[in-house]
Amino acid sequence: MNPEKVVFGFFIVLSLTLNFGFFVGELDNPDHHHVYELFAVLVVNLIATILKFGDRSQMGAVLLATSLAAILQLIAATLVWTIAVHVSGAGLTPVVMASIVSLSGGAMLANVISVILLIIETVMLRR
């Protein structure tokens, strides 16, 4: 058992589950998507990305790429949130909420790919 793999697997899966938790619910209803969840997703995803820094294997490089894609989407979502609430003062209108949630949905897709890659890698190791 490689502790590095355990930690990384944990963070990848956790980022997917948290992401899913934030994503489910009505798309444009602010009551269904809590800001704490988005914060948790962002932090866990950041850690998962940093964990893949400097991995020279092919799989490591692809995982870094998917994590980066997820992070990018999540940062975009938080930016939209911050701007809507604090800068423009528009508040969480259904339009804004929909775009935040769909951005996090994109991030979730990237996280799903990461988990699939992780599973593939594990299966390949077994053979």
């Binding site: 800001v35 914060f39 932090v43 850690i47 940093i50 964990l51 820094f53 400097g54 911050t82």
Partner: protein, 568 residues
């Protein structure tokens, strides 16, 4: 380059994760801990403000409490977060700074920087493996004749020496083992502009490995190797190494030349010396009568023994360890040659020549000095193994000095720097002594006391615009015309054309009636300042037409009108 990025990223993992955790916990704490607004109502900080506050708190400490003054609970949390944040940042910076000072990191950085520089080279270059005695002389010689070189050296101290040499050109030096293909590749072995690989390390095995690697990875490239063992030479030749130079065989050939055609030997030493400040060498005449004594029967001793034998000269060999080194058929005198007894046993009083050819400079000097005491008329040849001993070897004033590193360096420098001279010398070996003697007297009349300067001239648009223009007008240019003084065409320029190369044909000392064609190459030899006027003839139409016809062309409109009036 990849190495470095991975190295940094890998080492930065832990500090970055620490930083992320500290930030997220601080932010979360600030969001969760209840505060009070200006009116005393319950208020929760949102993520945006919490992140903003934490960002400036842990880096600078001190913008005040915003947007409302903190409660005591918040202050307690901020106090903890401040210390955690500062420590996390120090940790991250500390790691980066350690990384920058790390030896492996610095080396990886220098290596990748150099590899990038070499990749971006835009002019042809030679790759020289080994910056020892041969390598350093060769690098200086090649850069002096405007060639570019890249050096690989295994010893770090010596690789820094290149920087101290104040060479004419920037020479990239890769500190690495030339035996490893990766280092050769980084140094530009596969670069399309890499013309030749020169293997002059002090190990035959390494030179062999370099030759194999180069021939496999870049088959078109010229590979030049130094080797002093016949076994290794055969091995090198078996896979197509282009030039293999053995210092001992080369010197034996020189000695042979000096014995048979002394003028040719002198001509060769003049032409290949390369250093313009050097004074002309005196001719040497190794005696053919009487017997010679060879001290040391190693590779060098064997090589000269063969040559002297072929000339029909009687040779006596002195060797300290005949069991290991072998012995010639006439037998061997056992001893080092440094003591008078051994030399007397070899009949030194009647000998005409002595070769001190052991691999120890001190012993060689001792042999020469002892032998001179016994027989002052002796012709002496001394082998100099290390260049730092030059002063004492010069003081011993032997008739010929055999210095392996210099012999090889000169030979490779001539081959790469002035390839036409290399052709000229190898062709001159077919000529007679009289031919060489006549050429020597012509050259010495030309140059005075210093060694001649040589230049290769290609008849093309760049180097000889005037000639190309004249030929394009279907007029002929004779070699003799070119060598006239552009100021007084009755005078001849102080130049000798040693060789004319036309496609694959080589003409030694072409006659003045030879017609010059496009893309001819000339090897010209001259004294100091001899080239300036020749270049006028090559480049300026008016000068060329004057030396060809004696007519001064009138160029200006007014001048032409004026001269027409004068005629009519």
């Amino acid at each position: 380059m990849d190495n470095i990025v991975f190295l940094i990223l890998r080492r930065m993992r832990r500090p970055l994760i620490t930083l992320t955790l500290v930030y997220s916990i601080s932010v979360l704490g600030l969001v969760l801990i209840p505060g009070q607004d200006a009116d005393g109502n319950l208020w929760h900080m949102d993520f945006f403000h919490a992140f903003y506050f934490v960002s400036y708190m842990s880096t600078t400490i001190g913008f005040g409490e915003i947007p409302y003054a903190f409660t005591d609970a918040q202050r307690l949390w901020v106090t903890l977060s401040m210390y955690a944040g500062v420590i996390a940042w120090l940790y991250a910076f500390g790691t980066i700074l350690t990384l920058l000072q790390d030896k492996t990191f610095q080396q990886a950085r220098a290596e990748s920087k150099l590899a990038r520089k070499i990749r971006n080279l835009t002019e042809p270059f030679y790759l020289i493996c080994g910056y020892g005695e041969t390598g350093s002389v060769l690098v200086r010689g090649l850069t002096d004749c405007c060639q570019h070189v890249v050096v690989i050296e295994i010893d770090e101290q010596r690789s820094h020496l290149v920087r101290l040499e104040s060479l004419r050109d920037y020479v990239p030096v890769l500190h690495g083992d030339a035996e490893k293909p990766l280092h050769l590749q980084e140094a530009g072995l596969e670069h399309p502009l890499c013309r030749a690989v020169v293997a002059v390390t002090n190990s035959n095995e390494v030179n062999l490995k370099i030759a194999i690697t180069s021939k496999l990875l870049h088959p078109d490239i010229t590979v030049i190797c130094r080797s002093d063992s016949h076994d290794v030479e055969k091995n090198m030749a078996s896979f197509g190494t282009d030039y293999i130079f053995d210092p001992y065989d080369t010197f034996a050939t020189y000695l042979d030349t000096a014995l048979r055609v002394p003028c040719l030997y002198l001509l060769q030493t003049w032409l290949i010396s390369g250093n313009e400040e050097q004074e002309l060498d005196e001719p040497v005449y190794p005696p053919k009568e009487g017997h010679w004594i060879v001290c040391g029967y190693g590779e060098f001793g064997k090589a000269v023994y063969e040559r002297l034998k072929n000339e029909g000269i009687e040779v006596k060999v002195i060797e300290a360890d005949p069991e290991k080194m072998g012995a010639p058929e006439e037998g061997v005198i056992e001893g080092r040659g440094t003591e008078a007894d051994t030399l007397l046993e070899a009949n030194i009083e009647q000998a005409s020549g002595l070769i001190a050819g052991t691999n120890n400079d001190a012993n060689n000097l001792s042999i020469v000095v002892t032998a001179r005491d016994l027989n002052p008329e002796l012709f002496t040849i001394v082998r100099q193994n290390h260049s730092e001993n030059s002063a004492i070897i010069d003081a011993a004033d032997a008739d010929m000095v055999m210095q392996p590193s210099k012999i090889i360096a000169d030979k490779i420098r001539v081959l790469l720097g002035t390839p036409m001279l290399y052709q000229f010398i190898s062709r001159a070996y077919n000529e007679q002594n009289d031919w060489a003697c006549e050429l020597i007297s012509r050259i010495s009349a030309l140059v005075g006391e210093h060694v001649p300067r040589l230049e290769e001239i290609t008849i093309d648009q760049n180097y000889a615009q005037a000639i190309v223009n004249t030929i394009n007008r279907d007029e002929t240019v004779l070699l003799g015309d070119l060598l006239r003084d552009p100021w007084h065409r009755d005078n001849e320029l102080n130049c000798i054309v040693l060789m004319l190369e036309r496609q694959d044909e080589h003409i030694l000392l072409p006659s003045p009636e030879t017609e010059i064609k496009k893309d001819d190459r000339l090897l010209v030899c001259t004294g100091r300042q001899g080239f300036t006027r020749l270049h006028w003839n090559l480049q300026h139409d008016d000068n060329l037409s004057y030396v060809r016809t004696g007519q001064v062309v009138k160029r200006g409109w007014l001048w032409r009108k004026f001269s027409k009036k004068m005629k009519s």
